[in-house]
């Protein structure tokens, strides 16, 4: 069993439904203020104790490497963090394939400059509670030399659909010892050490942990990535390749591997089944044993890439080693199926993702290189993830079909990266240690 009272709630507790929230990015302008902020904030950070019960609202907090430095954390402790974390997400652009329009030089002003020190997340199931909990977070900053770099509300009403119009966040990894039985289709539980520091991972051993132990144990890493959805380009693509509403919706489902309702193509290959999509006991309860040739869910579709389950891969791969806990938080106006112009591509809407894992940096790099911006691992050459991939000129998407496959051209980058940071999400005890880190 995990020390749930030590682990931050956001690590295990899923988004509420409906969900409302705010991301706050902060810069520590002097170490004393930074430590004071942690002292004040810590009592308001929820632990994962009884995380399966709906408790609303809650706050969580992460700190970047630049933040740890700004706080005056001792050097031997700083050096115990993994290299990619110390360098930061922008500096790892080459390993992440964040090039071209996703290049850090095109990011929003706050990101990638070593200025984002702290990320605070407020989650709630109502707008009223969101405001209340955010107010509590803001009070803690009063009178401190801490600057707010960015504040972004999130939430996707009605229906919690993402900015391209899909139900999201369905398939999460099951974690051993987290206190809850896996949902049907969630797969065998994965060793907790893959997601939370201080516990044995799939190899049988715990991953290296930041030192001292009180700082590392029960903590984890968060890859924070902001995407802008190019809704106009996405809709134009569907219009170009689908003559009727039904054809367009089937194509939209083929790209993801699920209908917009969340119903998986493997279980609902021909028409959407919104009841299936809405049922957490059934909407993830499948594998690819009956879809060996990708006739239902194309090999290149988003969910088959992100969790290939029992798909035969071209390379020796243990799919359990490359999973992330995802907290997708959609921002901006809801998806508009009639948005077709290039101006619609720039309407600020998209998602902030928290990708959580005890080895988030290397997992995100692996996913970006192998499963998102390549197709070789699943036998489809150079094709990339149609939803979150960075597409090159002439990109294609193959839909296996009888008698012959359909090759869809004109795939564009539908979600553009606009910023990103790595955070360490410390345990409750580690937060107290950080408040007192000048030693």
């Amino acid at each position: 069993m995990l020390d749930l009272h030590e682990i931050q709630a956001t690590v295990l507790r899923p988004r509420p439904a409906p969900y409302f929230g705010t991301h706050v990015l902060l810069r520590i302008d002097d170490a004393q203020s930074g430590r004071e902020l942690f002292r004040r904030l810590t009592p308001h950070i929820d632990s994962a104790d009884s995380w399966w019960r709906a408790v609303n609202p809650w706050l969580s907090v992460g700190i970047s490497y630049a933040g740890l430095k700004a706080l005056g954390v001792p050097d031997n402790s700083l050096q115990s963090f993994p290299e990619a974390f110390r360098e930061g997400m922008a500096a790892r652009a080459r390993q992440l394939g964040d090039v071209g329009i996703n290049d850090p030089k095109n990011w929003d002003a706050a990101y990638g400059k070593g200025e984002v020190h702290i990320g605070v997340q407020a989650f709630s199931d109502s707008e009223e509670d969101r405001r209340r909990i955010l107010g509590i977070a803001r009070e803690q900053i009063n009178g401190l030399s801490v600057s707010i770099l960015a504040m972004q509300d999130f939430g996707a009403q009605p229906g919690d659909l993402n900015s391209l119009g899909y139900k999201d966040g369905i398939d999460q990894p099951a974690i051993e010892g987290s206190g809850v039985d896996p949902l049907p289709g969630q797969g065998e539980p994965i060793k907790a050490g893959e997601f939370i520091l201080g516990y044995p991972g799939e190899s049988g051993f715990p991953l290296p942990m930041p030192q001292p132990e009180i700082l590392g144990r029960n903590g984890t890493y968060v890859g924070f990535r902001k995407y802008q959805s190019r809704v106009g380009a996405f809709n134009r693509f569907l219009q170009t390749h689908g003559n009727t509403e039904a054809e367009r919706e089937l194509l939209a489902a083929k790209l993801v591997g699920r209908w917009r309702s969340g119903a998986p193509l493997v279980l609902a290959p021909d028409v959407d089944d919104p009841t299936l999509g809405a049922d957490p006991q059934r909407n993830n309860d499948f594998n690819y044993a009956n879809d060996l040739r990708g006739r239902h869910a194309p090999f290149g579709c988003h969910i088959r890439r992100m969790n290939p389950r029992d798909t035969k891969l071209t390379r020796l791969t243990d799919v359990k080693l490359h999973r992330l806990i995802r907290r997708g938080t959609t921002y901006g106006p809801p998806y508009d199926p009639n948005a077709l112009s290039e101006a619609d591509d720039e309407v600020p809407r998209g998602a902030y993702f928290l990708f959580i894992s005890a080895k988030a940096m290397s997992t995100i790099e692996f996913l970006q290189q192998e499963w998102i911006n390549d197709g070789n691992f699943i036998g489809i050459g150079d094709e990339r993830d149609p939803i979150i991939g960075l597409q090159e000129e002439g990109a294609t998407f193959t839909i296996p079909k009888d008698p012959v496959r359909r090759l869809v051209r004109g795939i564009e980058t539908f979600n553009v990266l606009r910023g990103g940071e790595y955070f360490f999400m410390p345990s409750i005890s580690a937060l107290k240690w950080l408040a007192d880190s000048q030693r």
């Binding site: 891969l313 390379r315 020796l316 080693l321 050459g381």
Partner: protein, 211 residues
């Protein structure tokens, strides 16, 4: 004593020289070569002069060590063996008739591998080429084929074990980057080659049917 280090040949980094200067440098180095060597050099220069002025894309670095061409990387390792290590490893290789096909095929990225014992079985040359970077999938190897790796590498002096955090550094320390390398189809991964073979077969079947 052999040192697993990069050896720098020549006086200046080759990349900064023009084709003409590189040829001049080569002539200087061959000045005290045998007559056979000198004649051969002049004949080859005649043939290669166009290629030297317009060289093919150079091989790139595959991360910290090793060379890369297109999607393919090479890895060459020379290691001292523990006493008795050669006999163990050789007997293991012979168990499979020297053909590593069943296990190596599973990896899905290995194009070739060779094990060469030399210096009276005190050292081993291990050379392979494969798709992508080897360390991307190291956790998968550790999870899925740790015993194969440790069985082969335990003959190597100082091998810490594949699960040891120092395993990667050990390999890098003993790896030597190839100075020259040729890959006929550098953009074809093993998965692509297999896909093309399937397409070829399907095309033949189709053509047979329409006749």
């Amino acid at each position: 004593m052999f040192m697993a280090n990069q050896t720098q040949i020549g006086t200046a980094p080759a990349a900064e020289l023009t084709g003409e200067q590189k040829i001049q440098q080569l002539r200087e180095l061959f000045a005290d070569a045998t007559e056979v060597g000198k004649t051969a050099l002049e004949n080859v220069i005649k043939e290669l002069s166009s290629q030297v002025s317009e060289p093919p894309p150079p091989i790139e670095s595959a991360g910290r060590v090793g060379a890369r061409l297109g999607k393919r990387s090479e890895l060459t390792i020379i290691v001292p063996l523990v006493p008795g290590g050669a006999a163990r490893l050789r007997t293991f290789l012979q168990l499979l008739g020297g053909n590593l096909s069943p296990g190596a095929t599973k990896v899905g990225t290995l194009h070739d591998m060779r094990f060469v014992f030399f210096d009276n079985d005190t050292r081993l040359l291990f050379a392979t080429s494969f798709d992508g970077d080897w360390d991307t999938y190291i956790d998968d190897f550790i999870a899925l084929i740790p015993d194969y790796l440790d069985l082969m590498d335990s003959a190597w002096e100082g091998w810490p074990g594949i699960r040891d955090p120092g395993a990667k550094d050990y390999l890098i320390k003993h790896q030597i980057t190839a100075e020259g390398w040729f890959v006929a189809e550098p953009d074809l991964t093993l998965a692509e080659i297999q896909r093309l073979k399937r397409i070829g077969k399907a095309t033949d079947e189709f053509l047979d049917k329409v006749q």
